[in-house]
């Protein structure tokens, strides 16, 4: 971490005034119904021929007022709602929320619960990255990885289904620990999955990493410097691909990540290819973490002592975890009643999406699609 605050780098946030009417500048609307915007993102592109001069994101098509709902539900009742934000990484959302409320209540989940949480969250990280890989490759035109990743993601979803009955919006964790004890054979199945999955990462990499077209399409596309990343608040794999070795699991360990041995993969150039490599490496690291967690799953209770009716003392807490997409933060204000006075979610996708403009300037239209894919946004989380 060198000194970054001497200058703000060359980010120009104001749109420069057009010098004069150029016949070749055109404005194109992409989305909200567009196959490559991963949901209902609408992008207004200002183009010079095929070159992007600037763009503006129009979001909010999926706004459901999750934060408002939170103010009208008890702490327990609000728990399932957070799964609906980043629905491809529902478990991470739940973990963040539960841990924040636990901080408010000043309780801590027992070690066994912590371990299971880590296992499920890391499985979720793999699932999220798999979904990202499939759709990102599809955007760039490689169809096959999509089916490979979905085949393997299925195994993770099966584990979820067996554990808590749901596949996507799992609601796996409860405030204070877990509701369900792991099912018989859970450890064995997770281990089987790891053995099954490890060669699969190589399979994905075989298809793409050295594929000339893939490299040409992703190298030096959507490059963003570490400085710009930090200035724009971009976190997660995007930040790490720009060369910043920062992961909340290491920087401010939550759950019991400090007990596990893993590395933070980083990239150098901050381009789309590096982000791809970082996410692939992250999947390998997740496998490593799960392996350790499953190997040392402690016995014991799975639920801490929490009151049936939760009434945390008045106060406010901000807690964040490293979701697959970046820093997922919860800011909860309690007024001492059974319902949170204010729930604020700091969604990683929302903040990362801000960087789209910077990443796309000077690129071609086809690259915008690659960059939207590489940012790995989920509109449910952007719009909440």
């Amino acid at each position: 971490m060198t000194d970054q605050h001497s200058s703000l780098s060359n980010l120009d946030l104001e749109t420069p005034e057009k010098p004069f009417l150029d016949a070749n500048e055109l404005v194109i609307n992409m989305g909200p119904q567009h196959p490559a915007t991963h949901g209902v993102l609408r992008v207004i592109l200002r183009l010079d021929g095929e070159k992007v001069l600037g763009l503006e994101c129009v979001i909010g098509y999926l706004h459901r007022g999750v934060e408002k709902i939170g103010e009208h539900r008890t702490y327990t009742m609000f728990n399932p709602y957070v799964d609906r934000m980043d629905y491809v990484a529902a478990v991470s959302n739940g973990l963040g929320y539960c841990e924040t409320v636990e901080k408010l209540l000043n309780v801590e989940a027992p070690p066994r619960a912590q371990h299971v949480r880590v296992i499920l969250t890391e499985l979720n990280r793999i699932a999220s990255h798999q979904l990202w890989l499939g759709t990102h490759a599809l955007d760039i035109g490689a169809i096959t990885p999509l089916f490979y990743t979905f085949r393997d993601r299925e195994e993770i979803l099966k584990i979820y289904e067996k554990y808590c009955g749901a596949r996507l919006t799992t609601h796996a964790f409860r405030i204070g620990g877990l509701q369900y004890e792991t099912y018989t054979g859970f450890e064995k199945e997770v281990k089987n999955f790891l053995d099954f999955f490890r060669p699969k990462i190589d399979e994905y990499e075989e298809l793409l990493t050295t594929n000339r077209i893939w490299v040409e399409r992703t190298k030096n596309v959507g490059t963003i410097s570490a400085q710009d990343c930090i200035a724009l608040g971009v976190t997660g794999p995007v930040l790490r691909a720009s060369g910043v070795k920062w992961d909340l699991r290491k920087a401010q360990p939550y759950a019991n990540y400090k007990n596990f041995d893993f590395e933070i993969p980083i990239g150098q150039n901050g381009d789309t290819y590096d982000r791809y490599l970082v996410r692939m490496a992250e999947m390998r690291q997740s496998v490593r973490i799960i392996e350790q967690a499953v190997g040392a799953l402690p016995e014991g209770p799975i639920m801490a002592k929490v009151p049936k009716v939760m009434k945390p003392a008045a106060g406010e807490v901000y807690h964040s975890i490293e979701a697959p997409k970046g820093e997922l933060g919860y800011f909860i204000v309690s007024d001492g009643s059974t319902q949170p006075y204010r729930v604020r979610v700091r969604p990683p996708s929302f903040v990362n999406l801000q960087a789209l403009d910077v990443m796309c300037r000077g690129q071609l239209v086809a690259d915008v699609i690659a960059v939207i894919g590489t940012l790995d946004i989920v509109l449910g989380e952007v719009d909440r």
Partner: protein, 425 residues
């Protein structure tokens, strides 16, 4: 009546293509045969592409309509024919209406000169290969017309992209073709030919396929052509015109029903057409493997068994899969259907063993087998490669393939000249 019969019979003893012999009856028969065969090939290709691609992508593909989805293309065709034919309100009616026909016509007309055998072509033109390249380049017009007439942004951009792409790659393609044509002039007279049949005969006379000629020059020219032909047909990884993540479906976005199916037909026919060019120019056309080396009657017999054996193999596959079908009563129809299909294939295979038939059919068989190899490559590309970006595609065409083509052309010419010099000494 007898006169007509004589007219019909008179061709049977000729050793020319019906077009060259001027026998209109047989020209008509051949046209019908070629177009029927082409339609069957497109239907089969449709099914095979979906099946092969599906298996590459760890899924099953069509399984419901008929055993292993064998009837799927027919069901699709019926669906497309029955669908409403929508025309956008702001579209340019006449051009919108004509465009698909132009594309189909261009794709089908090329088959006039495709030599399935020394006599199995509709006609043999003096400018055969030139005609083929020229007519297939006409499909660009249909694409531009379709994109423009739709009066919508995505089709227009798709059409501009695909036409720019096709025009650019035509240049490299032409250079590769010229270097192959140069090789045909390596005979005693020193004159080459543009005729498709003449090119294959030149390969027979020189005793090697042009892909191996002046190794590696022929191979490089073939490689250039093989890349350019994928770009010519707008297929993955050069399918920018139809990049569904960027342009939804490219120039045929606004088309539906029957007219859309014409574009589909044209795309697949064009794939077969360019593969036919590649097979003719570099892979010895209808020639069986080692026609000069293994040329005694035993080998002739062995190679004449191939068509029948292939069909018997297909039949065996059908029977094997019919046996593997679930033994549930609900699957009885499917099992019987698959077995019946196997019986049909087996019967075809048996018919192909009759010497009189196999002699006539084996040229066509070898030609089709080579083309089928290219078709498999097309599907394989689609399963493996991401899509190129437009500037990369143009760079590839103009800065890689074109200089390579020029270099190969010059080298081929020099080597040929050298050889000619030696020849005359």
């Amino acid at each position: 009546m007898g006169q007509i019969l004589d007219y019909i019979k008179s061709y049977l003893s000729s050793s020319q293509t019906p077009g060259a012999a001027g026998n209109m009856f047989w020209v008509l028969v051949y046209i019908l045969l070629v177009f029927a065969g082409l339609s069957v090939a497109v239907i089969a290709m449709n099914w095979l592409e979906r099946k092969i691609l599906a298996h590459m992508q760890v899924r099953l593909g069509p399984m419901r309509v008929g055993p292993h989805g064998l009837m799927q293309p027919i069901a699709d065709a019926i669906k497309l024919l029955l669908k409403e034919d929508i025309m956008p309100a702001e579209a340019d009616g006449l051009i919108f209406w004509v465009a698909p026909f132009v594309v189909v016509l261009a794709a089908f007309t090329t088959f006039v000169v495709v030599p399935f055998g020394p006599t199995h072509a509709i006609t043999d033109m003096n400018i055969g290969i030139l005609f083929m390249l020229g007519v297939s380049s006409l499909s660009v017009l249909g694409i531009v017309m379709a994109g423009w007439a739709s009066n919508s942004h995505y089709p227009l951009i798709g059409a501009l992209r695909s036409s720019a792409q096709m025009v650019s790659y035509e240049v490299a393609m032409g250079l590769a073709v010229v270097s192959a044509i140069l090789m045909t002039s390596l005979n005693a007279e020193g004159t080459g030919t543009l005729s498709m049949i003449g090119i294959v005969q030149a390969q027979l006379a020189q005793g090697e396929w042009f892909i191996f000629k002046f190794f590696p020059l022929g191979l490089i020219a073939f490689f250039i052509f093989a890349v350019a032909m994928v770009a010519e047909t707008n297929r993955a990884p050069f399918d920018l015109a139809e990049a569904e993540s960027e342009l939804t479906a490219g120039f045929h976005t606004e088309y539906s029903g029957f007219r859309w199916s014409l574009f589909f037909l044209a795309e697949y026919s064009a794939m077969i057409a360019v593969s036919s060019i590649a097979v003719t120019l570099w892979l010895g056309g209808w020639l069986r493997p080692f026609p000069n080396f293994l040329n005694n009657s035993t080998w002739d017999l062995v190679f004449s068994l191939f068509p029948g054996v292939t069909f018997l193999l297909f039949a065996a596959m059908c029977f094997y899969n019919a046996l593997r079908m679930p033994k549930h009563p609900l699957f009885r129809v499917q099992t019987i259907g698959l077995a019946g299909f196997g019986v049909v294939l087996g019967l075809i295979g048996l018919v192909l063993f009759i010497p009189a038939v196999s002699v006539r059919i084996q040229d066509i068989f070898w030609f089709s087998a080579k083309v089928a190899g290219f078709m498999y490559l097309y599907i394989w590309y689609r399963g493996t490669f991401p899509r190129y970006r437009f500037d990369q595609l143009m760079r590839m065409g103009w800065k890689v393939l074109l200089p390579m083509g020029l270099g190969v052309l010059i080298l081929t010419a020099s080597v040929a000249l050298l050889q000619q010099k030696l020849w005359h000494q």
